[in-house]
């Protein structure tokens, strides 16, 4: 059993000074010492396996703090979980309670005993006594089919937080574009509640409004996927915040996005991290360059990396325990390593991510990693983002095509080149940098590209 609950851990250095900033409400963490969001029913949830079905992130944050050390298990359902997957989640998690907020009025109705979480706290004489270690169950956002349930503990989730992250010298204000019920967002949640405050996002909120709220709260540390960040830079509101630390994770951070963030936030440390729900946080790179030093592979330490079959494998205290549910298969190999499915290529002492195994386009027997081509296209100053995909072809099996979003005209930058000119420039760049079979045969200029609820570019299934 872990030595302390999340609430105890937050209070380890004294009364927490920070706040949780929601879209409509702000809550001081210290209030939770004598007030509750669970409508006086916390004790009824003791030892239960609870599915969290809140729409609002603030409700979810409160529930996580209140239930750790009390509930047997918390299942962190992201708000976009398709309702048809809920019965399987309930079954596999052996859930016997559903916790929802007002916004999720009908969620889980009729399936389980229902409890409510309300961000307008009620005062109560609750004793936050902890009786057990609580399972934290995260759902992986698979591209098809039902999500997998990944079993973590507070220790495995907190293993990437250094001593200074748990108790920094001065209070920090963290924020994230992520939902805190996904691994990347949960890492920020844990940092925020330990280090000071946390500004939560909302999918319905325009990015400029979110950045304005983060700025008003005095955000110092902020994290998102490269797609989140491209959208923020595109919004024209990126300058609203002046963080000390900017973090990217969840997708490949290519050199153009790192350079753009460095230019947008000259005073910030721009770091990109690799983590996965199953493997945990593997490393963080702070040198401003894409990829990571090859020396990290095989280096001794709590987090061990190895490359097998060109794919990154990780073993660490941050690794999840297992998948829940029958027939879910093993999460890690017998020796404890998790296969991330992310392919690497070494060039001059550095490893670069080449995309997911299985995402490879096969052009007449020659492989193309879409991300490799996207990195070349994204380096063009007028390209905001791009998606390289496979197109069926009778001659070579497949050819490479690209969809490109152009940056908006602005007073500072002028107007973008005409689509024809841009297409030619992009093709020329690709020809110079890539083998002929990797050069997109067609480049379409599109107004937007779909970004999933988890903040990642939606890739068609290969």
């Amino acid at each position: 059993m872990p030595s302390e609950s999340l609430w105890e851990s937050i209070n380890a250095a004294g009364t927490p000074p920070g706040r949780l900033y929601g879209t409509r409400r702000t809550i001081a963490l210290a209030e939770l010492a004598h007030a509750t969001s669970l409508c006086g029913r916390l004790e009824e949830l003791r030892d239960r396996s609870v599915v969290l079905l809140t729409k609002d992130q603030l409700s979810a944050a409160l529930a996580l703090i209140e239930l750790d050390g009390v509930a047997r298990r918390m299942v962190l359902c992201p708000p976009d979980l398709p309702p048809e997957h809920l019965p399987a989640v309930v079954r596999d998690a052996e859930a016997d309670a559903a916790l929802a907020d007002e916004a999720a009025a009908t969620a889980g109705a009729g399936v389980l005993p229902r409890f409510e979480v309300r961000p307008d706290l009620t005062r109560s004489g609750i004793s936050r006594h902890r009786s057990r270690g609580t399972d934290w169950v995260l759902l992986t956002s698979g591209t098809t089919g039902a999500p997998k349930l990944v079993l973590h503990t507070l220790e495995s989730l907190m293993s990437a937080l250094s001593g200074s992250a748990r108790a920094p010298a001065d209070a920090l204000v963290w924020s994230t574009f992520y939902d805190i019920r996904r691994y990347g967002g949960l890492q920020v949640f844990l940092r925020g509640v330990h280090a000071g405050s946390l500004v939560l996002s909302d999918p319905a909120e325009p990015v400029s409004d979110f950045l304005a709220r983060a700025a008003a709260a005095g955000v110092t540390h902020i994290s998102g996927t490269p797609s989140h960040w491209r959208r923020a830079l595109m919004s024209g509101a990126a300058a609203a915040i002046a963080p000390r630390y900017v973090r990217l994770s969840g997708e490949i951070a290519d050199q153009p996005i790192l350079d753009s963030l460095r230019a947008a936030y000259p005073a910030a440390a721009v770091a990109h991290a690799f983590a996965s729900t199953e493997a945990g946080v593997a490393f963080e790179v702070r040198d401003g360059r894409a990829g990571f030093p090859a020396a990290l592979v095989g280096a001794p330490g709590a987090v061990e990396l190895r490359v097998a079959d060109e794919t990154l494998q990780i073993r660490s205290p941050g690794t999840a325990q297992r998948y829940l549910g029958e027939g879910a298969g093993p999460l890690r190999a017998a020796d404890g390593f998790v296969d991330t499915g992310d392919r690497l290529e070494e060039q001059a002492g550095r490893y670069y991510f080449m995309g997911r195994r299985g995402g490879v386009i096969n052009v007449g027997g020659l492989k193309v990693h879409p991300e490799e081509v996207e990195a070349v296209i994204n380096a063009h100053p007028w390209v905001q983002m791009s998606l390289v995909r496979s197109r069926r072809n009778a001659i070579t099996g497949a050819i490479v095509t690209a969809d490109v979003v152009i940056a908006a005209a602005s007073a500072a930058r002028g107007t973008p080149p005409a689509p024809e000119v841009l297409r030619r420039e992009l093709t020329d760049r690709c020809r110079r940098a890539l083998a002929p079979h990797k050069v997109p045969a067609m480049i379409r200029i599109v107004p937007t590209l779909e970004v999933s609820a988890s903040g990642k570019l939606v890739r068609p299934i290969a």
């Binding site: 072809n393 009778a394 001659i395 070579t396 095509t401 093709t427 002929p436």
Partner: protein
């Protein structure tokens, strides 16, 4: 533009893009002698699908693979009707 003219333009453009020396496009020119490689043909077929709206090579009926430039043009003329 006729089907033949569209095809001719694509052959010339892709040859230029792929740095290929294109042979003069006569009816009898054997495609293997045209100077284009399979990647070039793959690109031509994809672009013709966009401009003419047909891909005879992905059609449900089996097509005989064209041998000469003339065969190639006739195949598209048949499908582009």
């Amino acid at each position: 533009m006729t089907v033949k003219a569209t095809i001719t333009t694509q052959f010339q453009q892709v040859a230029r893009e792929q740095d290929r020396m294109l042979a003069p496009l006569s009816e009898e020119l054997q495609l293997v002698q045209s100077g284009l490689d399979s990647l070039s043909f793959a690109i031509i077929v994809a672009r013709l699908e966009d401009s003419l709206g047909v891909d005879p090579f992905n059609a449900t009926e089996t097509v005989e693979f064209p041998v000469t430039f003339g065969d190639f043009v006739r195949l598209y003329e048949r499908f582009a009707k």
